[in-house]
């Protein structure tokens, strides 16, 4: 099971955190500090896995962003590496060649997409299309809501004119 997902920039800035196992706010800060110390200092040719407190952290670097997932000891590390990649591909498809800035300014979207991919610490959907379809369905609903809202405000504006 995946215990948490972290996105950390090369400078150690947190871009996204998702906790599937209970961690208090204090623990979270500690975990992030410990792990960024551990992962950001690792050389480029080493394993993408780190042993940490009896668990494994699988990380992968995309440009200046580190995607980290913490898993149990007996999970398949290579698979997790591919789940990370899967997530990045979905993000890429959604944002259209995703970059760190997309995630900085639209972190809530990154969360929504992650929620369609992982649930309760497990991979819930491995079909990229399915994820994309769901996310866009939610977005279109948002769009229609926005249109409605603007049309209402138009009506009000006109009425009050």
């Amino acid at each position: 099971m995946i215990h948490f997902v972290l996105l950390i920039s090369r400078q150690g800035k947190v871009r996204l955190t998702k906790w599937y196992s209970p961690y208090s706010q204090k623990e979270r800060t500690k975990v992030i500090r410990e792990l960024s110390g551990l992962i950001l200092t690792r050389g480029p040719k080493l394993c993408n896995f780190v042993e940490w407190r009896g668990l494994r952290v699988v990380y992968k670097r995309y440009a200046s962003l580190y995607f980290c997932m913490c898993i149990d000891e007996d999970d398949n590390e290579l698979e997790i590496l591919e789940i990370i990649h899967h997530y990045v591909e979905v993000l890429d498809r959604y944002f259209g060649s995703v970059c760190e800035l997309d995630l900085i300014y639209n972190f809530h979207k990154a969360y929504f997409i992650l929620d369609e991919l992982l649930l309760a610490g497990e991979l819930q959907e491995s079909g990229k299309k399915t994820v994309a379809r769901l996310v866009s369905a939610q977005d279109s609903l948002v769009e229609t809501a926005k249109e409605q809202a603007s049309s209402i405000s138009n009506i009000i504006a006109q009425a009050t004119k």
Partner: protein, 966 residues
């Protein structure tokens, strides 16, 4: 240019995105992005928190604005700051009608709240409503929240609706419902155990996504109970076959692999189902073989599936062909340049050597390369592999390597792990005692504070008992080499506390045994230790006891004892110590030194830590005393069965105790039992008032200076033994060597499989590998070769574990009883001793008594709890018997069984606090009271008073009295 791009993106973001984001928010994100230091970032965030605090509490905030504030809160919290003031607003947002707002609310609460947060109760209602919504997106949002927020208590509130959603027309909803049920199962298996059939049904869902999701809970179910799911083997195999044959929609392909994530999950389940089941495994051979062949080993995902196949093959009933493919795949992993693959290869090798140990040999050089790799992760994985393949032939090399690595790292978590592995291996395979002690010294020196205290106790016992059963000279040699090495180590500046305790114990016990070192030398060293580590009470206690032993041995040998001046000053210091334990020990030391050689020898026989102590459970040594009392007119003891008519009062007491035990400590005052008791007192209790108080001269006769009386001296002996063994024997109550049995069973499996292996695959296998080996051999340097030889040298023979492992583990189980018995005898003795020199009306004399039964440190006390139970019973029996026969009448009013249990409960809960003394104090109060005042009412009042103080007097077990008085 770069900046322009950024601005462009920001602009695009502001308009697109669908979310309204104000300039403020963008500025915040930007300024944090530009912050040069953590301090600057914190300052900005704190400012933002202030703003948000103000803003969210304003009235009538438009929804959109609110949504943005909530997102800003999420952002702030993501950066590690506390945004709890806004949680309630996020909760409110989930109540909103518009999905747009609701979704943000749900996102925020799932990020903010853990499942045990108080606010969750406010969300449950909304979730219930949303689960019924006809908009599937609302349902999805609610299900996401369910997975994160619903805890054990709230499962029943949403369970029926979630189950209904399993039949929802939208596959996304079904999938999430499955995942939610999986979460429920993890939280509380019993709540969804009746729904297992639903999971089975969903396995046949039309949508591959739902089917894939169903594998998660099924994996969990299968891993807890394999046998109930054997019927699914065929289904899983056929699904896997279809997946591998690309029958699933193209959308599930990932890097040209057909639904690899589903394949991996299926292989995991099959590995569980086929473990040790030949019939089930046979169904899987074909499909797993197919996957081996089809896997594309050039892509990462292909390797992930391959690795899972290896895991599966090494778990199911072995098949030579599959094992061969697995070995092939492993060698490809190990030969790869990628560290990730090497890591997986090492891991897979560790799994496969359980079945075919000979494959390790082919890869020995690759393994050694990994061991010397600068990458810590790879190194640790390799140590794990080495740990799995340790035998008596290579144990020295492996443990040495492990210790070197242990010394080099700072990560305490891993240090602890590797230290305990070293200890385990050394205990199992140690080629010689000297080596074993050497290794233990190293482990203690470098990781002493991290290893389990049991390890130290094990080592003490090993030194005391020796390895060889009949070879005494080897044992004494072992001891003197231990003493030598410890005296040497004491020169080091900083030694972990556990190690010091061990050293003190060994020096005390065996420091002067071989005559190499003089008593004054050893005592000097010991007092140095006590002085140098003056803030460690446990070490000081060990040191004092060790000093006492040395002096006792000296006296017993007929030599004159001259206490070193530093020892004397130390003793003076301890006699006035705040720690009653240290005080007690110091007083005991003083007392022992004042005795003559004969007495000392029986108190403190040399090298007797392993002797059994006989316990006279019937307390027959008291017979004379009882006879005396009866002759002087005391009433004989009447067993409870003969005392009818007391049931009333005992029932009453019983209730009383139940009240006390169920809550541990009761804070409100107990009601005074006086009146009720009085009205109910049956004639039989009146009889007890006629009991004659203990004649005073009795206890005077047995007071302190007369300790030389044989019985008393044996008491002292056992007290001393208690001191010596405290935290030692009882720690061994539990077996520390459970791994030994498991490993040995796996060895036997190995042999079986080894035989199976030989006929088919092995020949071809090794011939291919010989070429690889010989080619490699030329290139590598001799050092590596040597290492390889020492690691893998005898690996072709599967060998039996040497007997040492068992030797260590066997006596420990036997120890359990021994220490148990011993312990209780000690308790009796100590209680008794106190009573012996206790004038009947000095109430607080009980204190030192109980102290003496206090183990030196708090930690072992927990272990004691179990032991305390019989102890106290015995102890109080003794107390009652010696001091005043009439108290028995009082005590036995309470019913035996339940009462005793209550007592020990209270005892154990009390024991963690300084109040401990009270137990003993109270008991003796009672004893004294009742012996003094024959007034029944008076004693009952006192009794209730004691109860009000939260202490229950320990009561005798009626059965014991039966033994005692026939």
């Amino acid at each position: 240019m770069e900046q322009l791009k950024t601005i462009g993106r920001e602009l695009a973001m502001g308009s697109q995105g669908g979310f309204y984001q104000s300039k403020e928010f963008l500025d915040l994100v930007k300024s944090i992005g530009e912050a040069r230091s953590k301090a600057e970032e914190d300052r900005i965030v704190l400012g933002e928190i202030e703003t948000l605090k103000r803003r969210v509490s304003e009235p009538d905030i438009p929804k959109r604005k609110m949504k943005e504030y909530i997102l800003r809160l999420v952002y702030v919290e993501m950066l590690g700051h506390d945004a709890s003031f806004g949680y309630i607003h996020a909760v409110k947002m989930t109540h909103d009608d518009s999905l747009l707002v609701k979704r943000t609310g749900y996102l925020a609460v799932t990020l903010f709240l853990n499942e045990d947060h108080d606010l969750i109760i406010l969300i449950v209602n909304t979730i219930q409503k949303d689960l019924k919504s006809d908009n599937y997106l609302v349902v999805c949002a609610a299900l996401n929240a369910v997975c994160k927020l619903i805890n054990e208590e709230t499962i029943p509130a949403v369970l029926p609706q979630v189950v209904d959603l399993l039949a929802h027309p939208k596959e996304a909803v079904r999938k999430k419902a499955i995942m939610a049920l999986h979460r429920f199962y993890q939280k509380s298996p019993s709540s969804v155990s009746h729904l297992v059939s639903n999971f089975r049904k969903r396995l046949c869902d039309n949508d591959p996504g739902v089917m894939g999701a169903t594998l998660c809970p099924l994996f969990e179910l299968v891993s807890t109970d394999v046998n109930s799911y054997k019927d699914l083997v065929i289904s899983f195999v056929s699904i896997l076959k279809q997946v591998a044959e690309r029958r699933l929609p193209k959308a599930y392909d990932y890097h040209q692999m057909p639904a690899p994530f589903i394949q991996i999950k299926l292989l995991k389940i099959l590995a569980l189902l086929g473990s040790g089941d030949k019939q089930a495994s046979e169904n899987m051979y074909t499909v797993v073989g197919d996957i081996f062949r089809k896997c594309d080993s050039s892509s990462n995902i292909g390797n992930a599936v391959l690795y899972e196949c290896i895991c599966c093959v090494s778990s199911i009933y072995p098949n030579p062909k599959l094992l061969e493919s697995a070995a092939d795949a492993i060698s490809r992993f190990l030969k790869s340049d990628s560290h990730n693959l090497k890591y997986m290869g090492i891991d897979a090798l560790g799994r496969l050597i359980k079945i075919s140990p000979e494959i390790a040999e082919q890869h020995q050089l690759a393994v050694i390369d990994c061991l010397e790799d600068p990458d810590d992760t790879l190194k640790r994985k390799t140590f794990e592999l080495l740990y799995k393949m340790t035998k008596s032939t290579n144990v020295e090399v492996i443990v040495d390597r492990m210790i070197d690595y242990m010394i080099s790292i700072n990560d305490n978590h891993y240090k602890t792990e590797i230290a305990s592995r070293c200890v385990e291996l050394a205990e199992q395979f140690a080629p010689s005692n000297q080596w074993f002690i050497l290794i233990m010294n190293k482990v203690f020196e470098h990781a002493g504070d991290l290893v389990n205290i049991k390890v130290a106790h094990n080592l003490m016992r090993l030194i005391a008992e020796g390895f060889g059963e009949d070879d005494d000279s080897a044992d004494s040699q072992l001891r003197s080499s231990a003493v030598d090495s410890y005296l040497h180590i004491l020169g080091e500046p900083k030694i972990p506390s556990v190690f010091l305790q061990l050293i003190c114990w060994v020096l005390g016990e065996y420091g002067t045994a071989d005559g190499k070192y003089s008593a004054s030398y050893i005592t000097g060293k010991l007092s140095d230790v006590a002085e140098a580590y003056s803030n460690d009470e446990t070490v000081k206690a060990y040191a004092v006891t060790a000093l006492m032993k040395i002096y006792a041995f000296e006296i017993a040998a007929g030599r004159k004892v001259d206490m070193l001046p530093e020892c004397q000053s130390l003793m003076e210091q301890f006699l006035a110590s705040h720690s009653t334990d240290l005080q007690q020990r110091a007083y005991e030391l003083q007392a022992v030194i004042g005795l003559d050689a004969h007495a000392v020898e029986s108190i403190m026989p040399s090298d007797a830590s392993c002797e059994d102590i006989e316990v006279d459970k019937a307390l027959s040594f008291l017979n004379g005393y009882i006879q005396d009392s009866i002759e002087k007119g005391a009433q004989p003891y009447i067993p409870e069965s003969e005392r009818s008519g007391m049931l009333n009062i005992s029932n009453f007491r019983n209730q009383d105790h139940h009240g006390a035990s169920s809550h541990g400590l009761k804070f409100e005052a107990y009601e005074l039992p006086k009146q009720t008791v009085q009205s109910r007192i049956p004639p039989a209790t009146l009889a007890s008032t006629e009991f004659v108080p203990v004649p005073e001269p009795m206890s005077v006769r047995e007071s302190y200076p007369t300790t030389i009386v044989p019985s008393a001296s044996s008491d002292a002996e056992s007290t001393e033994l208690k001191l010596r063994l405290d935290g030692v024997q009882k720690k061994w109550g539990r077996q520390t060597h459970s791994p030994a049995t498991s490993t040995s069973s796996s060895t036997s499996k190995k042999t079986v499989n080894g035989i199976k292996q030989v006929d088919g695959s092995n020949t071809s296998n090794s011939s291919t590998w010989e070429t690889y080996d010989s080619r490699k051999h030329v290139e590598i340097n001799s050092e590596k070769q040597k290492l390889a030889a020492s690691l893998f040298g005898g690996s072709s023979k599967t060998e039996k574990k040497p007997a040492t492992g068992h030797k260590i583990s066997k006596p420990s189980s036997h120890m359990v009883e021994k220490s148990h018995v011993r312990k209780s005898s000690m308790e009796i003795a100590s209680e008794k001793k106190a009573l012996v020199h206790q004038p009947p009306d000095l109430l607080d004399f009980g204190e030192p008594t109980v102290q003496s039964s206090d183990p030196p440190s708090v930690d072992p006390f927990k272990e004691l709890e179990g032991l305390l139970e019989p102890t106290t019973q015995l102890g109080s029996t003794a107390a009652a018997a010696t001091n005043s026969p009439d108290i028995m009448g009082l005590f036995t009013e309470t019913p035996g069984g339940t009462h005793n249990k209550d007592d020990s409960d209270i005892l154990s809960s009390l024991s963690k606090q300084p109040v401990t003394n009270m137990v003993g104090g109270a008991t003796s109060t009672q004893v004294a009271q009742s012996s003094k005042g024959p007034n029944r009412k008076d004693s009952l009042e006192k009794d209730s008073l004691v109860r009000q103080m939260g202490v229950t007097p320990s009561s005798p077990n009626p059965n014991l009295f039966k033994d005692l008085l026939g």
